[in-house]
């Protein structure tokens, strides 16, 4: 019934074509969206605009990489948006306070990593569901941001700080390059390291993974820590791009990251998914947002379209599951 959900079975040529089609639905969707917006807007298919889309997608994208790791484990991290805000505020606050840029950045990354470590430890030690642990953290870490900033936006004094990411390869910004490098690295990490392969085992069947000798608690702790680090990295990059740290920065971005990951086809139940899917989901999200803005649609259209696309992705996922079950 449910044992082979990890790798949908390929049964016959017709089944194979169908499976490939359904498995790569996010790339087909992305392609269709790009074609559609290229036709209806003269501004979409320009190097400038596409480079911009890549940069804009990187912030949610880096959050989504960490979320993918955690979600393959069958867990969830709702606190990434708050962690991003904490790193953003610390980087700018410490730099304004006299710390050099590298020191401020390192401290911000460390703080985010510590939050991830805290979440991971609580999940591993207490056996609480990560939804509860990170829901608490989502509220509490936002509190830390407000305590640190006093509820006010911080503006960076040193404008050279905002020029750090102004490095381009052709038109592609450093921020986008970091995002792609991380996608490549973590895809390699998932498929070619012991920890990565164990991630699927843990997400698929915790008890079996434990019996097979995987130290599940420690494994999850590592993934939550990575997730916290990546959220902090996204926060630091955001602080450089904006030059300000709003205490409400990244609010509800955890939801967008989850949407991007699910859109890509990674399953919330765990045991299934990869970084290519997440990359597809992140880019699809960014292209739809960008395209709708180029068309001058009011912003509610974007919210409604994203909701519908998400439901469509869920529907496709169900069809795929039913299709594979029939094939068995």
């Amino acid at each position: 019934m449910t044992q082979s959900l990890t790798q949908p079975a390929l049964s016959g040529h017709k089944g194979m074509a169908r499976t490939i089609l359904l498995r790569s639905h996010i790339w087909l969707f992305l392609l269709a969206a790009c074609v559609f917006f290229s036709v209806v807007s003269p501004y979409f298919l320009t190097v400038n605009n596409l480079a911009n889309v890549l940069t804009q997608s990187a912030f949610i994208g880096i959050l989504a990489i960490g979320m993918t790791l955690v979600m393959i484990n069958g867990e969830i991290d709702l606190s990434v948006g708050a962690t991003l805000a904490l790193a953003c505020a610390l980087a700018i606050g410490l730099h304004n306070g006299g710390a050099s840029a590298p020191v401020a950045i390192a401290a911000a990354l460390l703080a985010g990593t510590a939050m991830g470590l805290l979440n991971g430890s609580l999940v591993a030690l207490s056996g609480m569901h990560s939804f509860v642990v990170t829901l608490g953290a989502l509220i509490g870490i936002r509190g830390l941001v407000f305590v640190y900033t006093g509820g006010n936006a911080l503006l960076v004094n040193d404008f050279e700080y905002t020029e750090i990411p102004e490095v381009y390869l052709g038109q592609i910004s450093l921020t986008a390059m970091i995002f792609f490098a991380l996608v490549l690295f973590f895809q390699w990490f998932l498929t070619s390291t012991r920890h990565g392969r164990e991630a699927y085992a843990v997400g698929d069947n915790v008890e079996a993974a434990r019996d097979a000798g995987i130290r599940v608690g420690r494994h999850k702790l590592i993934n939550f820590t990575l997730c916290g680090f990546l959220a902090a990295l996204s926060g630091v990059l955001l602080s450089m791009r904006l030059g300000t740290a709003e205490p409400q920065a990244g609010r509800s971005w955890e939801l967008w990251a989850i949407i991007a990951v699910v859109l890509g086809g990674t399953r919330l139940k765990g045991g299934y998914g990869d970084m290519w899917r997440t990359l597809g989901g992140v880019l699809a999200l960014a292209v739809v947002q960008n395209g709708l803005r180029l068309l001058n649609t009011p912003n509610y259209v974007e919210l409604i379209v994203m909701g519908l696309v998400l439901l469509l992705a869920l529907g496709l996922d169900r069809i795929m599951l039913l299709g594979t079950r029939k094939g068995e």
């Binding site: 509490g140 939801l255 699910v262 509610y300 998400l310 439901l311």
Partner: protein, 318 residues
């Protein structure tokens, strides 16, 4: 056989009451103005909106699902009730709002119960959709009640025998909900579906129908909360309910209702929501900035759930 009451059992049975009493005592000792009738009624008035939604969402959570759409739902329905009040008067506005609340619940319920979508993602999609619908409907502008002399103002601002109307509405709603959950066949079915869905189906319960109904209740509760909100503020804007889904869930979790389903109660939810309200009020009376309550909420939620879990399994660590 004589049952021996271990420490774990004792904490599990009475932990919530002990924690609630402790928090009340700490707050009352640190802030002398806390224990005044005016302040207490003010806090109760404040928690009525979160409490009303939480009562509805408790059904969904006990059946083993989540509803993240209530914050957006509250926003949309508040905007709706205020604009409709200006157009068709209070009675029509109430009817339209309650119907739309049920409709939102029906959408969620259809997606989760019949299409069997994951409840977290499906209600997340509804969160986004409803946000969009709100801005489409209101144009993003604030709406205000044009004629504030109608009886519509009763729900948020009125009082009966000195007790604020929102509190009365919450108590009434909670009593009805508690009765339905604990004393009816439907209520027992909700527990059965949340406890073990497969077993519930084999014992003849139409699980999808039960889940669908829990979302209807959640939608209806959100509509009631929106009526209180609109009446209290005498207006609405497109961010008014933002983040309420999280406060609601925090209150439910604090009360000890399990997110895995099958366990929980209405009074636990009310105590959980009240605890959050009293902590917030106490910290502000003590002179802390409003955001300190978030740190305290974090610590208390983690501690409460961990202690509850530890008492159940008899060990602190997993």
């Amino acid at each position: 056989m004589i049952a021996t009451l271990t420490t774990g059992d004792f904490i599990r049975r009475n932990g919530l009451i002990i924690a609630f009493a402790a928090i009340l005592a700490i707050v009352a000792l640190s802030a002398p103005t806390f224990l005044t009738v005016g302040n207490l009624l003010g806090v109760l008035r404040q928690i009525a909106i979160v409490g009303t939604i939480a009562v509805g969402v408790t059904f969904v959570v006990i059946s083993g699902r989540l509803d993240l759409s209530v914050g957006s739902g509250l926003t949309f329905l508040s905007v709706l009730v205020v604009s409709q009040h200006n157009q068709i008067g209070p009675a029509g506005a109430l009817a339209v709002t309650l119907c739309c609340g049920l409709l939102i619940g029906a959408c969620n319920g259809f997606l989760v119960a019949y299409l069997r979508f994951d409840s977290l993602i499906a209600t997340l999609a509804m969160l986004s959709l409803l946000q969009g619908v709100t801005i489409w409907y209101s144009g993003g502008a604030n709406v205000n009640v044009a004629d504030s002399t109608t009886w519509f103002s009763f729900f948020g601002r009125g009082s009966v025998l000195g007790i604020p109307a929102p509190v009365l509405l919450l108590v009434l709603g909670a009593a009805v909900a508690g009765f339905v959950l604990m004393r009816t066949r439907f209520g027992r079915a909700v527990f059965a579906v949340g406890g073990n869905e497969t077993a519930s189906i084999f014992s003849g319960i139409a699980a999808p129908r039960i889940v669908f109904a829990t979302y209807l209740i959640s939608g209806l509760a959100t509509a009631c909360a929106a009526i209180i909100m609109g009446s209290r503020v005498m207006g609405a804007q497109s961010t008014i309910g933002q983040g309420y889904e999280l406060t609601v869930l925090a209150g439910i979790i604090l009360g000890g209702t399990s997110l895995l389903g099958g366990y929980g109660s209405i009074w636990r939810t009310i105590v959980g929501v009240a605890m959050l309200g009293f902590i917030e009020n106490g910290l502000i009376l003590m002179g802390f900035p409003y955001y300190v309550q978030w740190l305290v909420t974090w610590a208390i939620v983690i501690m409460a759930v961990w202690i509850d879990l530890a008492a159940k399994r008899g060990r602190l660590l997993a």
